[in-house]
Amino acid sequence: MDFDLSDEQRMLQQTVSQFLDNECPMAKLRQLFDDEIGFDPVLWKGLAELGVAGIHLPAEYGGSELEILDLAVVAETLGAHAAPVPFFSHALASLAISLAGSAEQKKRLLPALASGERIATIAFSEESDGWLPEQWTLAAGATLHGAKERVEAAEHADLFVVGLAGGKLGVVDRSAKGIEIQRVESADRTRRFGRIHFENSPVEILAGAGIEAARRVVDVGLVLLAADAFGGAEKLVATSVAYAKNREQFGVIIGSFQGLKHQLAEMAIEIEPSRALYWYAAHAQDHAPGEASRIASIAKSHLSERYSQVARDATEVHGGIGYTWEGDTQIWFKRAMFDRVMLGTPRLHKNRAADLAGW
């Protein structure tokens, strides 16, 4: 029994954390948060040079061929730092190609994705609640006609992995004709959305696998969101505790008041045990295929709800400054909003987990 991270996994987290401390300190994060586009290619390139873009991809295409847990621990670190990079969508899009692409497609597409030289994203969601493969309706022909909603990094991705009817996956190049991208004002300004409209756009079907591949992509995505939520929520607990130890009222630090102590304790109680939940969900993706989908849905709904609540509490703990644009808490508050909705709200995933239990 060794339910813990390996030294290598800890090192990976430390490396990414240190990089972000240096290259994306708060001033830089705030600048990107307020920026019109909010994307810094240099920051992405730096992360990619650490190997972050290809952790999960086969070695023969330039990846590190590690497990989903390795990917998830990086997601946790990025979540803690509120990193404004398209890691999540890029990881899923490249995973989709590596699972469902033909040998030729993988050879052609993956190396540039593993190195981070090109950015890929996923276009799954449709008008409402259309996140799951069995819900996708966009017809899979030689060309696409229709729209995809809530596509992260739509404005700077080079490649779109599109969810199609029947749980099929297709790849559309950004340079393809008939693509129109509309910016959506996103609450979370560290991960922005766009809407993509396809009009007669040529699509390349990833025909190497069936709907199972699409499900696995979604399941891994749920785990990554859970990990991001854990990282962000734990960070909020830490910054709230630090604030309570620093801020004085009535001549003493506010962290000495029992009302606040209990609120902070409850925040920690909500979050701390779910570290093991996301670890297990990540581990299951590679080692317990029978329960992988269900535990992914449980982890995502649980952690995104806990993160949302802790973000509200953290804002309250910080008082007036917590409610301002100038305060930093709002950045994580809005990351929680992204994590809650992306790949389906807690409602959708609780329904899915209940269905999968056979209840």
Binding site: M1, D2, F3, D4, L5, S6, L69, V241, A244, K245, I253, G255, S256, Q258, K261, H262, L264, A265, E266, A268, I269, E272, P273, S274, R275, A276, L277, W279, Y280, H283, H287, I295, S297, I298, A299, S301, H302, E305, R347, H349, K350, N351, A353, A354, A357, W359
Partner: protein
């Protein structure tokens, strides 16, 4: 990350399984005599195999095994699966025996440890008093040394199983001149004597598990003290040296959730099985999320234990996590029972088998409030987490000690 127990432990599991298959329930020669005799023989056998009494030296009746949390876990899993009895439940094995082993005199260990392990004697804990709950060290029950005996006067409350206990381990103020914590001694008291009056306290569930205990010139020998005079507070804090069992509790939670699902399949809401109600389904998953997090945190804590690392703030949260999960299960059970949530509670049973009867759930609905209070209220737990876990300042309490 590796969730298997490893070859050696799985081989050990095989031995335990084979032992249980042959020995429980007792058959043939072993099935002769009263239930108590059968139980006693089984425990002796299990101790001789090294499955029970593992942290207790051989000379006091235990099997004196090297601490091994995984073996401890496997034993618990397999005994539970076979429905076989382990060490006697209750406060004697949980609190008194580890305390005696750590701080007791030789004769005290010889006299009490084996008998407690074999279930021949039962204990109760005399800590709380009417005016001393969370502020336990303010306790007032007096002990005076008169000749060769302590003479004890005062009152204890919330004393679980005092009506069944043979002995009490008790915190008594023996040094009235000393400071609050330094004036307390840890005494052992024979419950079967005049001067002790045990009165049951009826719980809101209707059951009566705990009691008030009145002492009127109760006597106990001078040397029935554990540790020195005035050291009782420290003695009572003796760390439990048992093999940590962080998974067991999550197993009970999972059994409760299974029972709740069974209840939801049996009960109807709006004319169809409650399990088909979308809100009930989602709330079941929500509760399961908390249980799974608690369960896997148990894996993590066991791993830390094996590596001899500190579990950190997580280690302080187990009680309040169980409490919160209990509240959530209880409230959801009431939702599933619907209008039958007005029925009076039935027999107390928190252990699964008959859990899905309606009146057991109404009992559980109330009993979970008790869990939130017993052994340190949720608010005391929050203080501990905030102070020891998060490093926030201690509450103002000039007379507090460690």
């Amino acid at each position: 990350m590796d969730l298997s127990y490893g070859k050696e432990i799985e081989a050990f599991r095989g031995e335990v399984k084979a032992f249980l298959k042959a020995s429980w329930p007792p058959t043939g020669e072993a099935a002769k005599g009263s239930k108590e005799e059968q139980l006693r023989r089984f425990r002796e056998l299990a101790i001789s195999k090294g499955y029970l009494g593992r942290s207790i030296p051989r000379k006091y009746g235990g099997s004196e095994q090297a601490p091994d949390p995984l073996k401890g876990q496997v034993i618990q899993e397999e005994f539970a699966a076979a429905g076989a009895p382990m060490e006697p439940r209750g406060i004697g094995m949980m609190m008194l025996v580890p305390t005696l082993l750590d701080r007791g005199e030789e004769w005290q260990k010889e006299k009490f440890v084996r008998a407690t392990l074999m279930g021949e004697i039962a204990w109760c804990q005399g800590y709380s008093e009417p005016g001393s709950g969370s502020d336990l060290a303010s306790l007032k029950t007096r002990g005076e040394l008169v000749g060769d005996e302590w003479v004890i006067n005062g009152q204890k409350i919330w004393t679980s199983s005092a009506h069944e206990a043979d002995f009490m381990f008790c915190l008594v103020r023996t040094e009235p001149e000393a400071k609050k914590h330094a004036g307390i001694s840890y005494l052992l008291i024979d419950m079967k004597q005049p001067g002790i009056d045990v009165r049951p306290l009826r719980e809101m569930t209707g059951g009566a598990m705990f009691n008030e205990v009145f002492f009127n010139d109760v006597r106990t020998p001078k040397d029935w003290i554990v540790g020195n005079r005035g050291e009782g507070w420290l003695v009572s804090r003796t760390t439990l040296k048992h093999e940590r069992n962080s998974i067991g509790n999550a197993g009970q939670m999972t059994a409760l959730l299974d029972a709740l699902v069974a209840t939801a399949k049996r009960r109807k809401i709006d004319g169809r099985p409650a399990i088909q109600d979308p809100e009930i389904r989602r709330r079941l998953v929500e509760v399961e999320g908390y249980i799974r997090a608690h369960q896997y945190s148990g894996f993590l804590q066991m791993t830390k234990d094996l590596k001899k690392e500190s579990p950190g703030v997580m280690g302080l949260m187990n009680k309040i996590n169980s409490t919160h999960i209990g509240h959530r299960i209880a409230k959801l059970a009431m939702e599933i029972l619907g209008d039958d949530g007005v029925v009076a509670p039935g027999e107390r049973n928190l252990m699964g088998a008959e859990m899905d009867s309606d009146s057991t759930w109404t009992n559980y609905y109330m009993a979970t409030v008790g869990i939130a209070i017993a052994g340190g209220t949720a608010n005391v737990q929050r203080n501990v987490i905030a102070e020891r876990g998060l490093g926030l300042p201690r509450d103002v309490a000039a007379d507090r000690s460690k």
